[in-house]
Amino acid sequence: MWDRIEFLFSEAFTALRRNILMSLAAITTSCVALFLTGGVGFAIKGVNEYAATLPSRFEVRVFLKDRVDKDQIRATAEQIREIPGVASAVLLPREAAWQRFKQENPDYPTTGLENPLPDAFNVRLTDVDDIEVVAGQIKKIPTVSPGDGVQFLRREREMLSQAISVLRLVGVALGGMMLITGAILIYNTIRMTIVARRREFRIMRLVGATRATIVVPLLIEGMMHGMAGAILASLMVKGAHQFLANQLESFSGVVRVGPLDFNQVFGVMLTLGLAYGLACSLFAVRGKME
């Protein structure tokens, strides 16, 4: 059995050696294709995960004026809850918010500083379309801070949604084109192998070699193209993630790129690459090869 596998792989490596330039072209194109489709997939996943940490589209954050006492807070909560379209209003005490801020930003110099944060409410709505009306009514409450006392993240949400759409478009359009180009290159490489090795294949057929003996090395060759492309694409995803993380870190301390599970990226990319190479080479070896 091992002897057989060794023979099939040695046949595949012979083909790779003979078609080295075409193989390199197929590998690099597969790499870019997988980077664009797979990498964008991971980017979308990252943006989605980031979006999940933001207040929901159904939430409005209400900041109160300074020096509002407990009774006023209670009264404000009642007033907010009475507004049609409000599902709930949860108090976010200024002390708790200050503690959380200090925990999340340990490098920020807070020692000796008085808590600058106001008391706030997290208001959930029953319908996101009512957000403007509800926000307008909350602003009218005297204890609510004027100006930016009512905040909701619709715009941020929309921006994220747009970012995902753009990423998806880039992934589908560019990645799709590169996938097709890569597929044509792998197909051509396998067909060239078939032409280059027609003498061997003829002899194999004459002596009674099975179709599998002839075809399996070609499939392995295609899978190797996909696999090599996937390994390079995984490294590119890792590099791009690192680059993006460093850039954002240097521009802003607030927006952070989440960690990348490289093992997961590698596993997914490798599976995709192998399946891609296999599909292309299966297409190339279909039918008669004479």
Binding site: D3, R4, F7, R199, E200, R202, I203, M204, R205, L206, V207, G208, A209, T210, R211, T213
Partner: protein, 228 residues
């Protein structure tokens, strides 16, 4: 008369409406026979060999081997069928970048023989065709006769019961031609059924035996020629 080993019954092979290789062709070969198929180019002799090796299929009639209809053979069973045959192509079919022992070893590996079996078998097979002393040579370093010997050797890797040689002397001088036919006769004497397609009349006259002459896809004579 001996029972038919290979049987052609009303076989027709038509490539197009107007080009027909064999027409209502009836022919049989007994086990252990040595048959020369002679005729000019396009007479149908190579087609006969290709029908037996299932490189081609009859458009009408049946070709059978020990009663097995080769036309009805499923594609996946063709390799098993071919392992009963030893096929010697006219152009030797040697791989330019492989040494002689590698040519045999490669073919053996292709049919599933292990490395150990290859190590044991290659030398034996090359010796059987008297080319063992050139085992390390590349095809370009050998004469046509030596190359054809290696092609015959490769045909022996499955210990075949039938040897099909298509113009095995087509590229050889008379001396080497006789050498190759002698080799095939020796294999026949060891029990193999041998069919040789040739237009080399000199060789046929030299060795005699059953000679089937074809013209335009039909048998015009089927006789046993004795050598004086």
């Amino acid at each position: 008369m001996a029972a038919s080993h290979i049987e052609f019954s009303h076989v027709e092979v038509a490539y197009t409406k107007h080009v027909t290789a064999l027409k209502d062709f009836n022919f049989s070969v007994a086990k252990g026979e040595f048959v020369f198929l002679v005729g000019s180019t396009g007479s149908g002799k190579s087609t006969i060999l290709k029908l037996i090796s299932r490189e081609e299929q009859a458009t009408a009639g049946t070709v059978s081997l020990d009663g097995l209809d080769l036309g009805a053979l499923h594609e996946r069973d063709v390799p098993t069928h071919r392992r009963r045959l030893g096929i010697v192509p006219q152009d030797f079919g040697l791989l330019p970048r492989k040494r002689m022992w590698e040519q045999i070893g490669y073919a053996m590996r292709a049919v599933g023989k292990t490395k150990r079996e290859v190590r044991k078998g290659v030398e034996q097979i090359l010796e059987a065709v008297n080319i063992g002393h050139r085992a390390d040579a590349f095809p370009g370093e050998l004469s046509g006769g030596e190359q054809q010997r290696v092609a015959v050797a490769r045909a022996l890797i499955n210990d075949p019961e039938i040897i099909l040689a298509d113009e095995p002397t087509g590229n050889l001088d008379p001396h080497h031609s006789a050498e190759i036919i002698r080799l095939l006769v020796e294999l026949n004497q060891k029990g193999a059924t041998v069919l040789v397609a040739t237009h080399d009349v000199t060789v046929v006259e030299q060795f005699g035996g059953r000679v089937v002459t074809l013209q335009g896809g039909k048998i015009i004579s089927d006789e046993v020629r004795n050598v004086g």
